[in-house]
């Protein structure tokens, strides 16, 4: 039989873990540009990083990073726009982003080299 293999629960779990790990570095990168609010981060993660993360996933992640001191949050309330809570990188968050990008680069170079060897 050549049908597509049914997605197993462990596949979904492993995929969720992968998305979680990538989401964190992608989120920190977005905040590295300028402060963003939750919905804006979510839309950018989906459209620019192609991360299909669930709507509500963003706030537990942001709050965890806030508790860890990597991001800070502040409400912006003005007549011009809706009330929004903006998140910004803290100095510790900037250092963490740098470390995660370094690690990400190292891993992707090794994986690329490995796949190149396998293909060639």
């Amino acid at each position: 039989m050549t049908g597509r293999r049914k997605v197993q629960p462990e596949d979904a779990q492993s995929s969720a873990q992968w998305v979680r790990a990538v989401s964190e570095v992608a989120l920190l990168s977005i905040l590295g540009e300028r402060p963003h609010y939750g919905l804006e981060i979510l839309d950018r993660l989906r459209s620019e990083a192609a991360l299909q993360i669930a709507e509500g996933t963003i706030y537990p992640l942001l709050h965890r990073l806030e508790r860890a001191g990597l991001v800070s949050a502040e409400w912006s309330i003005s007549e011009a726009e809706r009330p929004r809570k903006y998140y910004a990188l803290t100095p510790a968050g900037a250092r963490e982003l740098e470390a995660q990008l370094r690690e990400w680069g190292r891993l992707s170079r090794r994986l690329e080299a490995f796949l190149g060897r396998m293909a060639g």
């Binding site: 919905l39 669930a54 709507e55 509500g56 706030y59 709050h63 965890r64 508790r67 809570k85």
Partner: protein, 188 residues
């Protein structure tokens, strides 16, 4: 759904969400509710249906659990108090192998220290039969019916050893609990 129905659905979801965040400090709870409300309002204003917008968050109870658990973990790790650490690990035993292993390790340490203390207490009233025994039956703390066939290794040293074992077990158990909670937190 009518606009009034939409508002009722959102208000109902947010009410259940707020109620499920019951263990959190009030300002933090209000802040979370306001943030989710702002998110939902903005999505709906952009044309997303209420049901679809709410479905993205799941049930309010499950969604609130994310934040309550984060707070509980942070509190236990920041406070470092043994009962909070043990409670936080115990509540995760059924869904985390790390927490289950840590919990078993703590039980073993408590059992060992408790066994030494009980043996020391028994030795006060029955010095001949109680102690750390070694021989055919292996090595164990406790009461030996036939002390002649085994060797008692500690003698009176069991009395100072009892409080030392309690202190050591407490320190080791605390380390195990903290490490396991840190591992659980980093895996979230």
């Amino acid at each position: 759904m009518s606009e009034a129905g939409d508002q009722r659905a959102i208000a109902g979801w947010l009410r259940r969400f707020k109620w499920s965040l019951g263990g959190m400090p009030s300002p933090e709870r209000e802040d979370l509710v306001a943030e989710v409300r702002a998110h939902l309002d903005e999505r709906i204003a952009a044309g997303v249906g209420v049901t679809e917008a709410l479905n993205g968050f799941g049930t309010p109870e499950a969604y609130a659990r994310n934040f309550v658990e984060q707070m509980e973990l942070a509190r236990a790790l920041t406070g470092g108090r043994f009962p909070s650490l043990l409670g936080a690990v115990a509540r995760r035993v059924h869904r985390s192998a790390v927490a289950a292993a840590a919990f078993i390790a703590v039980l073993l340490l408590a059992g060992l220290a408790g066994g030494i203390c009980v043996t020391a207490a028994v030795k006060l009233v029955d010095p001949v039969h109680a102690g750390l025994w070694f021989g055919e039956g292996g090595l164990y703390f406790g009461r030996e019916q036939e002390p002649g066939r085994m060797r008692e290794l500690l003698g009176p040293w069991i009395f100072p050893l009892a409080p030392v074992s309690v202190a050591l077990a407490w320190v080791l158990a605390r380390l195990v609990l903290i490490s396991s909670l840190q591992a659980v937190r980093s895996s979230r």
